[in-house]
């Protein structure tokens, strides 16, 4: 398979670019932030995205999806990263849809995939329990009770947690924290009385919540995937998330860099364009190279998710690591090369800097993934 987009995927890219630049540019994101919109996104925009088939981008056609696969999801995420578009796309259409489509029962698929595709049900994934991503460290308890379980525990940094209709919670049904076996995924209604959700304002002005569950009764029907075997499913969902976050960060890197090179060509100091200074040129050229490397890494991980989902984990880790580092560099340089205006709120590059920082942290930063890869390679 070629490591380039197909004609169909390119058309999707053009359509996404056109739609988002028109309907969800950075200015819209600012407006959401400044108006303290309690949802953190525009429901009208989300509805339009669903109508264009974006909400069901990875969902099979038989369930109402547009079946564009992960490359399709990445194409959209990249454009969202360019425009800093805030929407439930990542949590619902990537994480939620992957969880249900790949690990759900027929009944769960029938029940949820349709409402993912039409945008009517929002999902959120509750994994981490502390400030650093540690998916193998799960203490959140699922205690056997009658025919089902009782869920109790806390989760942090649940993206879209406060707006979600459904929560996918990684809980411990056996073993000790840090055991990879004994984890089970539960799919529950987010508005259950036993669930307390606190919206946590984040530096990137995106949605996140802390969640506390106190004695929520669930049944076997609420289990997603295998009892005690949920870690593998979690890994699959996280892999998809990592690749798509990589695509988003790749888009943000590209756009922050484009804004910066435009500025280098226009800003004058010492009687010349600052882009003529070799000190800046070489840094820009280095960054341009890193951005090209990142595009390849991200596309490869997305293609592998489509071709051989089970084997994509390490590749998605590498893509997440590479895209995270590049995005950090791109947004750091964007601020520095803009000088004073780069650190003003009025100027957009700071918004990219903040978003990229959170996306880096989410599902593991570059150091986390480097450690994972080293372990996997036996060193």
């Amino acid at each position: 398979m070629s490591l380039i987009l197909t004609e169909e995927q390119e058309m999707l890219q053009d359509a996404a670019s056109g739609f988002l630049t028109e309907n969800a540019p950075v200015a819209s994101f600012r407006e959401i932030r400044d108006s303290k919109n309690p949802d953190g996104f525009s429901r009208d925009l989300w509805k339009e995205m669903a109508e264009m088939g974006w909400a069901g981008i990875i969902v099979d056609e038989e369930f109402g999806g547009s079946e564009f696969g992960y490359v399709g999801a990445g194409v959209l995420a990249e454009q969202m990263g360019r425009n800093l578009t805030a929407s439930p796309f990542f949590s619902t259409s990537v994480l939620g849809a992957t969880a249900v489509q790949r690990y759900g029962t027929q009944k769960q698929k029938d029940e949820h995939l349709g409402s993912i595709c039409d945008g009517s049900t929002l999902f959120a994934l509750a994994v981490d329990e502390g400030p650093r991503h540690r998916p193998e460290h799960i203490e959140f308890a699922a205690t056997p009770h009658g025919n089902g379980y009782i869920l109790s525990g806390s989760k942090t940094f649940v993206a879209d947690g406060h707006v979600a209709d459904k929560l996918i919670i990684a809980a411990r049904t056996s073993g000790e924290a840090n055991d990879s076996s004994g984890v089970t995924l539960f799919l529950v209604d987010a508005d259950a009385a036993a669930i307390e959700r606190a919206h946590t304002p984040m530096i990137d002005s995106r949605n996140a919540a802390n969640i506390r569950v106190d004695g929520l009764e669930v049944t076997g029907d609420d289990i997603l995937g295998e009892v005690d075997g949920g870690y593998e499913a979690l890994e699959g969902i996280l892999s998809a998330g990592r690749a798509v976050l990589g695509a988003e960060m790749s888009g943000s890197s590209q756009q922050a860099f484009a804004i910066t090179t435009d500025y280098l060509k226009e800003r004058e100091q010492f009687g010349q364009k600052i882009g003529s200074f070799q000190g800046l040129q070489h840094r820009a050229a280095h960054l341009a190279t890193e951005i090209e490397m990142t595009k390849s890494a991200v596309l490869k991980s997305l293609q592998l998710l489509d071709d051989d989902f089970e084997s994509a984990s390490a590749t998605c880790s590498m893509a997440k690591a590479k895209s995270g580092m590049t995005a950090q560099l791109s947004t750091q340089e964007a601020i520095q090369m803009h000088g004073g205006i780069g650190v003003t709120d009025e100027y957009d590059v700071g918004l990219y800097f903040k978003r990229v920082h959170v996306a880096q942290q989410m599902f593991g930063d570059a150091g986390f993934h480097a450690d994972r890869l080293a372990k996997r390679s036996g060193y």
Binding site: T261, K273, H282, A284, G367, D371, A374
Partner: protein, 403 residues
Amino acid sequence: MSDLEQFRAETRAWLAENCPEEMRDGDITAENQCWGGRQWEFQSEAQKRWFEAALEKGYTVPTWPKEYGGAGLTADEAKILTEERDRINARKPLSNFGISMLGPALLAYGTHEQKLQHLGGIARGEIRWCQGYSEPGAGSDLASLKTKCEDKGDHWLINGQKIWTSNADISDWIFCLVRTDFDAPKHRGITFILIDMASEGISVKPIVLISGHSPFCETFFDDVKVPKAYGDGNLSVVGEVNRGWDVAKNLLVHERGMLGTMSPLRGAKGPENLGGYAAEEIGLDAAGRLDDPSLRQKIAQAEIDDWAYTLTVERMNDEANAGNGLGAKSSMLKYAASELTKKGSELRMDIGGTDAATIGADGIEYDSLANTWLYNRAYSILGGTTEVQLNIISKRVLELPSA
């Protein structure tokens, strides 16, 4: 079955039958590759058999037209051939500067007669070429070169000196940039000329590098007479007189493409996988992590960068095949490859500790890690320094303003 699928099946069968087992170690290094040329002696029977089989099929230069010794493969077919060759880890049957640098430039700028003689000679492994570009006073500022080429009616007369001529001492011909007009702006007085190294007045002196070894030479031209033509229509000058810079630039893009597509962390000395090598040498702690956390982090980082780089070579090739030429982006690959190459051997030296810094009684052994490490410092200098590549990316890819 589509034509391409059929081509893949045929290629696979052909490789299975014709590529000797010994040639399936994928280990192409300067030492074990098949260079060809008048002085060439095959290093093994298998290497000879593999070369001859490929030659018969036109696979020493698969994409070149059949009349010039190639197989006339399309980009898609060539990709399949490469994939199938990689699948069995086969070496390239022949690789040298004629194939990677001069050939593509001749295909673009040569006359039919020039192609017949020179491309054919390259394809058949008869002539080994070296490159006469740099001079003592013309390194990064290549266009300031001063080797003098005078028009003497029926021949050219050349005087001057080239430097960093890789393998000049064992090459048969040299493609050379010379100055034919000292009054014109510097880019407009350069001519691209092909010279037989056996010509009277050419002398060669090897340069010893920091490793104690070197493929590099100084090449001196002392009243060297070069015929205007080697046969009917077969001129010694490629392209127009005084317009050699165009040919030179075209060739440099191919050189960067070649330098940029070498796999940096592999192919260096030591086991393929850096982390595995480190685990063997250094050992693991109780948690199964390399017993040197800082080195571990650097290795993992380098492996991620190497992986992304390798994919970028693949992606840019695919884009080129789809009609979006690489152009100045080849500088990105050259830049990334040379920095990663240095990084890979630095890490290997760090892993090896004082063992790796220990040399033989007669100096640094040729096939030692230390030699590779020292030689690799040259990668970010030759073929345009890292700084030159960054200049090119700034100007040609990013279109940043000139000072």
